[in-house]
Symmetry: D3
Subunit: 325 residues, 6 copies
């Protein structure tokens, strides 16, 4: 089986097919153009520079292409990079499909759908159940294919659904442990909380923010969808149960500074916020640690206040990267 990008050791010769995630034209100090590239496969991304790019090269090698690469795995200021020796587009009979190079959630879509359904069943409040089902139906394809973020945590295809599911599993543990928790409310809020990202972002590949994302933001975008859904399903949008559900989503960033227009004032909204942060943190730490040798530190993680994390020498638990099926 073909080697993955992160299987190559320092100074080893790289030879294989990869996706060009980014290929940006820049001008070198000597005045010539080059391409600043990110190569991608399911093991992650590594950068490289294609020097002295001709106009034809620039036209051929665009983000989203699959290419064949020969080169050398080097280090540049502590980060891995590829020194490109030869690069060409793929030929007939060689891999063409972008899908096989993109990182995916560690669970299949069908598995995630099934697991999600068990949580939907547990939403016993009828209005919340109908709203959740309606929106899951409406935004189904995007919900299961989008990442949870452009970068940082769960920035892979299917990441939105996977992150949602992780929160639901934590939510179940919390609801089992604390009997005062309103389980249907917590589940409904968890499922909807980030669904606005399907409108805020452009899609699972080469993700950018939409104008609606920049000017309105995913929190308000999904709130509007809930209100629309109420009108279509003839649910009174001013009823207390709808207000409380909307509050779950509006407050889930926890602090106004993080973009929530209101802070949590319902217990389940506070819990949803906490679990959202907990899952995102663990996911970011796990990803970084799985690329880190025992006895050394991860790179600094921007979204965790720039902290780095130590992987203890004898810690076996972080040894294997999460398996991708």
């Amino acid at each position: 089986m073909a080697k993955k990008l992160f299987d190559y050791q320092l100074d080893e010769t790289v030879d294989g097919f990869f996706l060009l995630k980014d290929a940006e034209v820049r001008v070198a100090k000597n005045g010539k153009k080059f391409l600043a590239i990110n190569f991608q496969d399911t093991s992650g991304e590594i950068s490289g520079k294609f020097w002295d790019a001709s106009d034809q090269d620039i036209e051929h090698f665009q983000a989203g292409c699959v290419i064949h690469l020969k080169g050398k795995r080097e280090n540049y200021q502590g980060n891995p990079q590829i020194k490109i020796q030869q690069m060409r587009l793929t030929r007939p009979g060689e891999p063409q499909s972008v899908q096989q190079f993109v990182e995916h959630a560690p669970l299949k879509t069908s598995t995630m759908e099934e697991q999600l359904n068990t949580y939907v069943f547990a939403i016993t409040e009828p209005n919340w159940n109908r709203i959740v089902r309606h929106l899951l139906n409406d935004l189904h394809a995007d919900f299961f294919s989008f990442p949870a973020a452009k970068k940082n945590h769960h920035a892979f295809a299917g990441g939105l659904a996977y992150h949602t599911l992780s929160i639901l599993k934590l939510a179940k543990a919390v609801a089992d442990q604390y009997p005062h928790v309103n389980r249907p409310l917590l589940y409904a809020g968890a499922i909807l909380h980030d669904m606005g990202k399907t409108i805020e972002m452009s899609g699972p590949v080469s993700t950018t923010y939409t104008l609606a994302g920049n000017l309105v933001g995913h929190i308000v975008l999904i709130d509007e969808k809930i209100v629309e859904t109420c009108q279509q399903l003839k649910i009174d949008e001013q009823s207390e149960s709808v207000l409380v559900l909307r509050h779950m989503i509006l407050a889930h960033h926890g602090l106004l500074e993080y973009g929530s227009p209101v802070r949590p004032h319902v217990m389940e909204a506070e819990i949803l916020h906490d679990l959202d942060e907990l899952d995102a943190s663990i996911q970011m730490m796990q990803t970084s640690l799985s690329h880190t040798e025992p006895g050394t530190y991860t790179e600094r993680i921007f979204a965790m206040d720039g902290r780095n994390f130590y992987r203890p020498s004898n810690d076996q638990t972080k040894g294997a990267a999460p398996s991708h099926d």
Copy 2:
């Protein structure tokens, strides 16, 4: 003509009809109940204590009653208060109507409506014009009767419309001076920016926050109304012009910390935010200064970081309180 509350000098005998704005039952240090009262008429509010309140007193003297009061204008820790000597409910033939004791905007409703219309005419972008007219129509009564806030600035009947109008006048001056400003966008945003307060607050008298106000907030509440309006008027709610208009409202608090889910990223949204703050500040300073003797300081204004303001000795401009028609 009858003397107003703020016409009485220190140690003068008070004798007249007033509104009980608040009448809260408390227990004194000696164990007996008393009423902590705020008397109100159009000149403002002054507190007083009704000692040794019987159960009957408590039942009679409730917030919202008009009463006849005899007492003495005193000072308590720097603030005016009334020492109550005699207090009774009004009798037939005496003033009963709450309206005449409540502070109103310095302009008549009809005047405000007229002035507002000239700004609506200037909204030449058809979708914005239709959305603004529809919502002005829909929320008409509340828009012209609600205060702009529970306390702080424009906390009087009609304050919401009056504050909106003040901003529009400043907006006109800005649009006249800076030709790059999109006048229709600035006007449309100004008219809608605080309209959600008609849903967030309970009404013009004894104002409290509604559940929707606490759990959703006026910014998102009016955003939802704009989306609904688009659906009713068959305007594409995802069109750029609607997104930009919604952004005007969503961003008008300027900072995330102040409850806007997004910061201003459109020039007119930044200007609207600045004018909103400017008008609120001037209104608060004017109100405090008009109760302040030349050569002394106002009380500390909570919403302006607790600063007090000096009224210069020879400053004639702040002499008269704003006239109430």
Copy 3:
């Protein structure tokens, strides 16, 4: 069965035995002394004032006494209070034991011990296991009787062990869900993280901070105990596994501002911090909500940034106060 403090309705006559949690001598505005009292039983605390206290009264009614009280359940500025009509020390044959009036953890000590043991078994790293057992043994009595804090969350007898156990249950759910988590490390850190409070605080009743608590603090106090334990057990205190364990405790407040001398730089330390906050928050919200009528708000919770929480009208989950066995 005797009525509890919180069973009495507004204006109902109170008649029963209670603990004087505090009884502070103050001087009234009229110059006479009175006692500012907090009455306590297992349902919570309510304040009251004993007016015109004689020197003998002051001598008799001291914090820690059980008394018999007749009075009336009133409200003072939104908070419940007791108007004292008659108060006396208990007589022979009447309740004397402080224990039956003090709020306890909802689990029996023996149950908590048993449950805790299952987690200790799961600490498969031998040094961590020995350190944990040694300190649990050493501080056993205090660990199971102390509160987790002087006020705020888990401020009841046995609260420290109960809070520790709650975190362990959450930790199990997290370790089950995320295979990269080092379970023995997370459990060991969770058990030790607040154990320094047995040195920081004076005890389970009328809790105050010790000098060591004020000048050193519970985080460093337990760190020192770990180091001592290593010396006694001949474990190399500079070994990586001990440093990592100490880091778990030192970093568990998450931020330097909250008193941790280092921020979390090990994944399990970050998770421990998150779970500590999650359990404390839920506990505080549950306690407040269980005293709050459906359709109303709790009082503002100081340790949650002064936020209040809404108990939805139709929310059955928060109906019953947590049962005390």
Copy 4:
């Protein structure tokens, strides 16, 4: 008529006369020297690199020279730049005057003087009027030629007077709208508020900060000038009217963090601060937006918290750059 710098499209050949705003000697990665240049004309600035600079080149091409340039308009990491093909000093008969390449305020000096005078007339308080006239006279040349800042807003020749005039126009609108505003005070404060910049900065071209600017700052520098003026004009500098005027200038940055030694405690000082910020913000947004295509975002504006601003697709108002006479 000759093309301006910003008239050239991407990849177009540049051929014309420009000012060298900066020409800094640096060492390339290959060890050879090059000049990092900013070319300037009235349409703005674009950077370029002059590779392999000889000692003679370095001597010739100094900041402040007018040169003839042949090159190509390219992009480097999102910013426009010129790839230099040929560059030489101008010859007799070719443009030599720096003035025609420097960006100027959009109004002629004589126009600004005239307009300013109408505001001076309206300062009816005799002391303020005399102080303002005296300082305008004293610092006349610099006041009308200096920029308002080294970079950020109004960083062009005449920017200081132009910014002052813009604020005065806003001040007039505010004074017309709010009758409590002391118009003479607001005008006098507006005229003087930034006049210290003529001492703080070195001049209109290649602006740097003076030692007095760094160690004392423009706020205190002009305050000192006011005090000196009082002594020369025999005005009592401790009189209330002078103290209030000085306060206008001292407080105009609004917050201590922004370098004001006192916060505004006079209504007109607060208003001056607000209008100063409003004009600076609009100027920065207008400048950026006029270089931005409809349907795209400006670059991030450092002095506005690094925000970028969207220029709506159909927004005609921002189409034309401000005309330079």
Copy 5:
């Protein structure tokens, strides 16, 4: 010799002459007027309440009077207070002079003058020396009689000069230890740094802030005096040595947030700021600790972030209050 206020033990009968530092008329909960008094002598201040004050009492007992008091030393919420039994104005032959009740610096004025002179001699830069002498001469009486602050540190008569002298002594130690320090600059800055307080504050007794203090502030007020002095002494006020001296004063609060218009950018300015804070902190801690029993904590000191300080049980050094000559 007569007992001082702080010599009386709890519950002891007070009988002696004291100064009324404040005597504020308030209204009691029972509606009657009382005087909230602070009694003062050189040992400090203690509060008391004069109940049921008649109009004549109010007229007689004003701030600044010396009175004869009989009463009892009590405690009110942890703070000492006097229960007044009898109070009357002094009669002929009894103490009348305010001076003997006011707290003074622990050094005589003549001693402070002498000590200060030795530092002035060491200012070998002629301009700085002349400026310092001129201002010391000009503001001599106030400089040696004013407090250094209205409350917090050195809030006693002569406190300004005493605080200045303490800083000079520390400055000498620093200049002796670090040879790079410009001693004349540090001494000149130290002497002038707080001299503006003689204009900012009303005087040594019943100190309030002047209008100039509120609108301009002591930092800029003394800066202006330095500029005036330069003009009178024909020293070029724009010379580097004067700019650097002015910078010492302008920057001495260290941070813009603390009211300095510029941060320290000269080494001696940074040192002056540090020594200013160090002396103020020690003075506040010493004062509080000298009123605190060994083995207990001081009250919380507002100007030190509300911290309290522990006086160790066996610490003899803090036993005696600073002696007053």
Copy 6:
């Protein structure tokens, strides 16, 4: 005598022996490897780049080598650098010893030991004296050879002892001036406060942080040593005098944000914190100013909020660099 690195003027030819402080392999834009070097001798550090490094070069030129260098002193973006013309390892008979190129404290170790002893004698409290002596003995070699920090202040061999001694001298001046200061406590705390750095850092050359440094930190590391010492010396570690001493060290960073687990609550702890900051600041300013021409500014000092400092034109005091013996 041989020229030092900082003796060479701009464009002068460098020819001499230096230490390679760092020699990091990087990849140039043209794809070839180069070494990013810091040359060091006792006058400081200057960077340089060794282009087109062969594998043999990389192997030879490693951090810690002494080399012979020919090159040219240039400037790169405002910072001095060396353009390398020729570089080789030293030959027999040429300088080999790293020690003579490393910057040392300005005092000899023996002098520092002697001076320190006089302060140890003054610690008259027996327990503190024994603890201090024991730890000084235990960590003797490292205490006198380690720097006080990896970079910023006192980052030279012997810097830890030198910094400690400077604080002690300031402490003596303070204790002499303020009689309430507990001199033995202040001295003992000063000697121990940074001793944990001998465990936190790897050593005096090429200093890095140890795992214990990163996970525990020097404050807690020395606290643990104090506790151990108590056990060995049979001193009760819970006695008040030990708690107070530990508090001195634990609180010496002043603020929780700076890594102290408790803020100072003992007067001497507050003073120690202030003197620590004062000495570090002066040291950083002196070092920068001694490399700065009169009439210009230092580079920005990161650890002083990025401020730069002006060296006045006529300031002779900062002329000479501190002498190294």
